[in-house]
Symmetry: C2
Subunit: 224 residues, 2 copies
């Protein structure tokens, strides 16, 4: 896997940046350090001024790459879901048996990343933590509908569609494959959040993983 990833570049919607951060060293540092800083401060307390200071540069330099912090968050989460999709396709493409395929897919999609794949300046471990606690803020806004039309959520929706198709392949008669797929993706983030902050309302923790919980849930739902 690592070898293959070396040649991978995740493409993110062009309207999410003013200037492609992949095109310069400063751009890459902006992306790289924004992940650290959002993780440390939380999205609300994160500002371009603080980011500028962290990368030993200037607020205005950051604005040359990203319009505002909301677009930056969209950029980061798009990258994350693009990367997730790549891993999903890669891991399931060769598999013939629908059940086994879905099992593998669920495993990838419900796990948090524990190791940085090292093929880019982006730390996927920290990024996945950001996605858990910040992703929903990227669409729970008054601008969702326009931004959705612009295609800012395309990658995420595509991922849900892929999962939906794998669900339907296991049981073509199951009528709620899309809802089940979206519930799994969103629910997995939620369970990860709960195990870190609201332990009393989740079973996920040291013994049980979100993967186990959702695997049982999905296959039971499809069997009925």
């Amino acid at each position: 896997m690592d070898r293959l990833l070396e040649n991978l570049k995740i493409t993110v919607h062009g309207q999410l940046y003013v200037k492609d951060p992949e095109s310069s060293d400063l751009g890459r540092r902006i992306v790289q350090q924004s992940i650290t800083l959002i993780h440390d401060l939380g999205f609300e307390n994160f500002t371009f001024k603080k980011l500028g200071a962290l990368i030993g540069s200037n607020e205005s330099s950051v604005y040359r790459y990203f319009e505002n912090k909301h677009k930056l968050l969209l950029y980061l989460t798009n990258w994350y879901w693009g990367w997730m999709e790549y891993r999903l396709v890669f891991a399931t493409a060769a598999l013939q048996d629908p059940t086994y395929r879905l099992e593998q897919a669920l495993s990838i999609v419900t796990q948090v990343v524990k190791e940085d794949s090292n093929f880019s300046h982006i730390n996927e471990v920290i990024l996945s933590q950001i996605v858990i606690s910040e992703y929903s803020k990227s669409y729970l806004t008054k601008e969702v509908d326009t931004e959705n039309k612009e295609g800012y959520f395309y990658i995420y929706k595509q991922l849900v569609v892929r999962l939906r198709e794998m669900i339907s392949a296991v049981n073509p008669k199951y009528p709620h494959a899309a809802s089940l797929a979206s519930t799994v993706l969103e629910g997995a983030l939620h369970q990860h959040f709960l195990k870190d902050h609201f332990k009393s309302i989740t079973d996920c923790g040291d013994k049980v993983t979100p993967t186990q919980f959702f695997t049982q849930l999905v296959f039971a739902t499809l069997k009925a």
Copy 2:
């Protein structure tokens, strides 16, 4: 139901307000109109200054009731979940059969409110819309853990616990009752959001309701 609700007062954690908004006309107007305004502008664009203008009063007057808009959101969502809990307990208390009880519970908890019960100045229809698009912002913060210790999420967690117990009553051997309960509560909000903004990744809409989807899912999961 309406009759009974007339005498109901939902109690919200005392630290969520500076002065109890139920104690004055101005306070009630603040709460009432904040629901309208948050719904209209979205939480990010909502300010106390705008709220003051809307109620024909002053920014500083709002601050006399709520420390900041985050606390106000916590107040509103706490009220909502408290009210939801009341409806849940009321509707299921008399029911003996665990399966039927869980069915009723799921129905209450996964539906959005369509009618204002008129027993208070709070419009529950609009409030439930706010909960769908803003609730997660109340806990996806850097301050969750301290605020959780203060008890700001107690009512919500209690609701999950009640649902968990009803799930366990149907199948005591099912090992993930808490995760299933929290997934249903959070997932229902999510499906409602999707049907309004990301139709392509949900089956919920005119024909299928989140209630149907989750009812099938829960009972199938418990049967396996």
